[in-house]
Amino acid sequence: MATKQVRYEALVKALHADLYRYGYWLCHDKHIAEDLVQETFLRAWRALDSLKDEKAAKSWLITILRRENARRFERKRFEMSEYEEATITDVKATSNEQEIENYWLREKIAQMPEEYREPLVLQVIGGFSGEEIANILSLNKNTVMTRLFRARNQLKEAVDDEPKLRGLHNG
């Protein structure tokens, strides 16, 4: 029992931040993301004995979280499927340059189609390789690489157009 507790606490400590961020980029809502993470870890606790390889823990948890997120849509169909700009919150309203840029980029990331954003989040936050992402999302590797390319390409194009938009934001 005690060892299970220790394993669990170590797991939470190491991975809760990444998991929360991943959840946030799935649903764009701080509170829902928190609920998802709670639910995910609770399920993880119950099934902890089935996790044999600690190295697989991250993708295991992400799989649980994705399933939890999908269940959310089973319960309330379409309610959260539209992205609403209002739900993106400026987490720290310190008005330094970096934060403004982060805010702007966050909006862009949130506006990206789900199918591009998810692999990108997995790659950047999760640090997964193309192959691992393909496993988690049940896609083939080429599809994942194409989506990653398109995702970054979209963001790059947006950034290249940035000066105009920056004016709007600062003005």
Binding site: Y8, E9, V12, K13, H16, A17, Y20, R21, Y24, W25, K30, E34, V37, Q38, F41, L42, W45, V91, K92, Q98, E101, N102, L105, R106, I109, L120, V121, Q123, V124, I125, S129, G130, M145, T146, L148, F149, R152, N153, L155, K156, V159
Partner: protein, 237 residues
């Protein structure tokens, strides 16, 4: 490596460049700039995606789990308690069944066992102590009465006869006491007309709502005793 392929590879995964990509970058300033830009963009993306985690999320997660496993523990305790209660209940039933169920299969077996068990208490030469009046007082419980005493009555009292109330009469016999049981007709125990073992023999008579059993040793004319009972007993409604 053509330009499109290069761009695809860099944009898909800026962190891991394969040899072909590195080779392509080496002698191409434009490609170097592109790779650098994408790498910078990636840092920005990482920074933007790195949204702050709510304070206390870690503590909440541990708390939720502790509560959940506590609940589980409580549920387990309840289940264990319920199981213990069930076991105790079943044991109670079993003991009850063993103590109070009918041990003997038929009237005869029980009658013989009863007589053997109490044989030591009765001596054939004991003085008669029971009057007809007090005998009939006891018989009233079975809605019957005797017209006269048809022998020397040594003893008459209520006895437990395999769980049901019965009247146990002991008469002086030829060599050993003769026992007469009067008991209510009970469906739980099988009626047998004649029975015997090595020393004892017995006959049962079935009246409307009572059985009368006569048990004596082999020398005793049981038939005769039975006739005497039959003649002297009167049943009321």
């Amino acid at each position: 490596m053509d330009d499109l392929q290069f761009r695809r590879s860099i944009l898909a995964d800026p962190k891991s460049r394969d040899d072909a990509t590195n080779e392509a970058i080496k002698n191409d300033a434009a490609k170097q700039k592109f790779a650098h830009d994408v790498s910078a963009l990636d840092d920005k993306i990482a920074q933007a995606m790195n949204i702050p985690v709510p304070d206390g999320l870690y503590d909440n997660l541990i708390l939720r789990q502790t509560m959940a496993s506590h609940q589980q523990q409580k549920r387990k305790t309840r289940v264990r308690l319920a199981m213990a209660a069930s076991v105790a209940f079943v044991m109670g039933l079993t003991v009850n069944f063993m103590m109070f169920s009918h041990t003997y299969k038929n009237l005869g077996d029980y009658a013989i066992a009863h007589v053997n068990h109490e044989a030591a208490h009765f001596s054939n030469s004991a003085q008669p102590k029971v009057s007809l009046a007090s005998l009939n007082e006891k018989m009233a419980a079975f809605k019957g009465s005797f017209d006269s005493t048809f022998g020397t009555l040594i003893f008459a009292d209520y006895c437990r006869f395999d769980g049901s109330k019965s009247l146990h009469l002991v008469f002086q016999g030829k060599s050993s006491p003769v026992n007469v049981f009067i008991l209510p007709d009970d469906e739980d125990i099988t009626f047998v007309k004649d029975f015997a073992n090595d020393e004892l023999q017995g006959h049962s008579l079935n009246f409307n709502h009572s059985n009368v059993i006569v048990v004596g040793d082999k020398n005793e004319p049981i038939e005769q005793w039975q006739d005497r009972v039959k003649q002297n007993i009167t049943w009321s409604i």
